[in-house]
């Protein structure tokens, strides 16, 4: 899986939670919460969606890494690489 594919998965999960983000330009390094109106339940739904979509275990302590798009993509990329290597 490439980083671009992961990004697509994240964006589509996000669009399900915050429909107004669909097709919008998203700043990769700006906090999701500063870009859209996302609360803890939206965030939890995002985590659950990514876990189900990609089969990645996301630790609760790693939640802050999902505060923006680029952080989310690199976290998931690392996790997925590790999975394919071993």
């Amino acid at each position: 899986m490439t980083k671009d594919e992961i990004k697509t998965v994240v964006l589509s999960a996000l669009a399900k939670i915050a429909p107004e983000t669909e097709g919008e330009e998203i700043e990769p390094d700006v906090n999701f919460r500063d870009q859209f109106d996302i609360d803890s339940i939206d965030f939890l739904n995002l985590m659950i969606a990514l876990h189900k979509e990609l089969g990645v275990d996301i630790q609760a302590v790693d939640y802050p890494k999902f505060s923006n798009l680029s952080g989310s993509v690199s976290y998931l990329a690392t996790k997925l690489d590790i999975k394919t290597k071993y």
Binding site: D37, D39, S40, I41, L44, N45
Partner: protein, 383 residues
């Protein structure tokens, strides 16, 4: 034969749009089954059936706007005979303009409908009782049915504008009534959240993402349990007296992306395990934001919790949602200097506020309630 009516969902509701049927004629339904979705000024609400029975006929089709009390469908319960079809039981619904008109049942007797027209009417969910056909003696043809369906679609829904504006009006009506009629008193206290958050962190660290909790659930459960000894905060003010509720259904204020909010109930909040409560909370928020809430959730809160912490405010001064008699607000969890055994420490704290109805309770009792919530949050493992 029995009639299933459009229920009232609040004093400011006059009519609703039938959005969708989840049952069809011949279906068996149980008391409590969700059978239809209606659109009101509060959004789309799913309504449940009141008793066990079998659906005979659907009388209101999707996209039709009808006033409260309209017969939406007929049904028979077990042992009861099925309604004879169309022997002139005109629905208690005003005639609609356009190609449909109420049939004077007594005068016309049995309506004349061709089998093909009846079949088409079922397909298009057209209400036959209101149709006068173009054939001899008012006989209804397939073409009549199709025309009726088309005209209903054209006239549909426009009179009941929904969306933020309609919802804003509905909120304004409720809040104006609260400010006018309810003698509020307000209390506030600061609660040390360090134990609750430590417990939550540990709890979540050991569990997959699908089983984790958010701290709001701890607050909701603490409120529900805190009512045990202060029952006068739980219930409704109806017809100039307080009706306490033995069940605790905590309403949770949920903001909507398009603006506005709803505060539907988590049923039997005090009796549910925190894990179940979390699942139900997540499900409720997700459904409400997707525009679907159930009538029972919408109508039955006995007290409300509003947590505005995520928007960054530290203190909420809530307004009671009538006919309830109390609402608890939680602000943002912030790190503050906190005195522990004479030493100053930095602790995460939250401001809890109570607005309650002086017709039912006093500040003393309200104070005991906030103290109980505080105590419960110091022992999160028992929530």
């Amino acid at each position: 034969m029995s009639e299933f009516h459009l229920p009232s969902l609040g004093a400011d509701m006059e009519s609703a749009i039938l959005v969708e049927w989840m049952v069809k004629p011949g279906d068996e339904v149980k008391r409590g089954d969700l059978v239809a979705a209606i659109e009101t000024n509060k959004g789309i609400i799913e309504i449940e059936f009141y008793e066990d029975g079998v659906i005979d006929e659907i009388l209101v089709r999707p996209d039709e706007t009808v006033p409260i009390g309209t017969v939406l469908a007929t049904y028979h319960s077990e042992g009861e005979e099925q309604a004879p079809r169309k022997t002139g039981q005109a629905p208690t619904k005003p005639p609609q303009p356009g190609s449909t008109a109420a049939v004077d049942a007594g005068a016309t007797g049995r309506q004349r409908i061709s089998p093909a027209a009846r079949k088409r009417a079922t397909e298009l969910s057209v209400t036959l009782a209101q149709l006068i056909g173009s054939g001899p003696g008012g006989a209804v043809s397939v073409k009549d049915v199709e025309q009726a369906a088309a005209s209903a679609h054209k006239s549909m829904a426009k009179e009941l504008a929904t969306g933020p504006t309609a919802m804003r009006k509905s909120i304004a009506t409720a809040m104006a009534r609260a400010k006018r009629e309810i003698p509020h008193y307000y209390l506030g206290t600061t609660i040390d959240m360090s134990r609750a958050l430590e417990w939550l962190e540990q709890y979540n660290a050991e569990r997959p993402v699908t089983e984790r909790l958010v701290y709001a659930v701890l607050l909701i459960k603490a409120v529900a349990l805190g009512l045990r000894k202060i029952p006068e905060l739980n219930g409704c003010w109806i017809d100039d007296h307080f009706e306490p509720s033995s069940a605790v259904h905590v309403g949770v204020a949920i903001s909507l992306r398009q603006g506005g909010l709803l505060a539907p109930a988590l049923h039997n909040t005090n009796l549910k395990d925190i894990i179940i409560l979390m699942q139900e909370f997540l499900d409720l928020v997700t459904r409400v934001r997707a525009g679907r809430v159930r009538r029972s959730e919408f109508m039955e809160p006995t007290i409300t919790v509003t947590s505005l912490g995520e928007e960054g405010v530290e203190t909420v001064y809530p307004i009671i949602y009538p006919p309830q008699v109390a609402i608890i607000g939680f602000g943002k969890i912030v790190e503050r200097p906190w005195s522990v055994n004479g030493m100053i420490e930095s602790r995460p704290v939250v401001e809890a506020t109570l607005a309650a109805d002086h017709r039912v309770s006093d500040g003393h009792r309200g104070g005991l309630f906030l103290a109980a919530i505080n105590r419960l949050l110091q022992e999160p493992e028992y929530l």
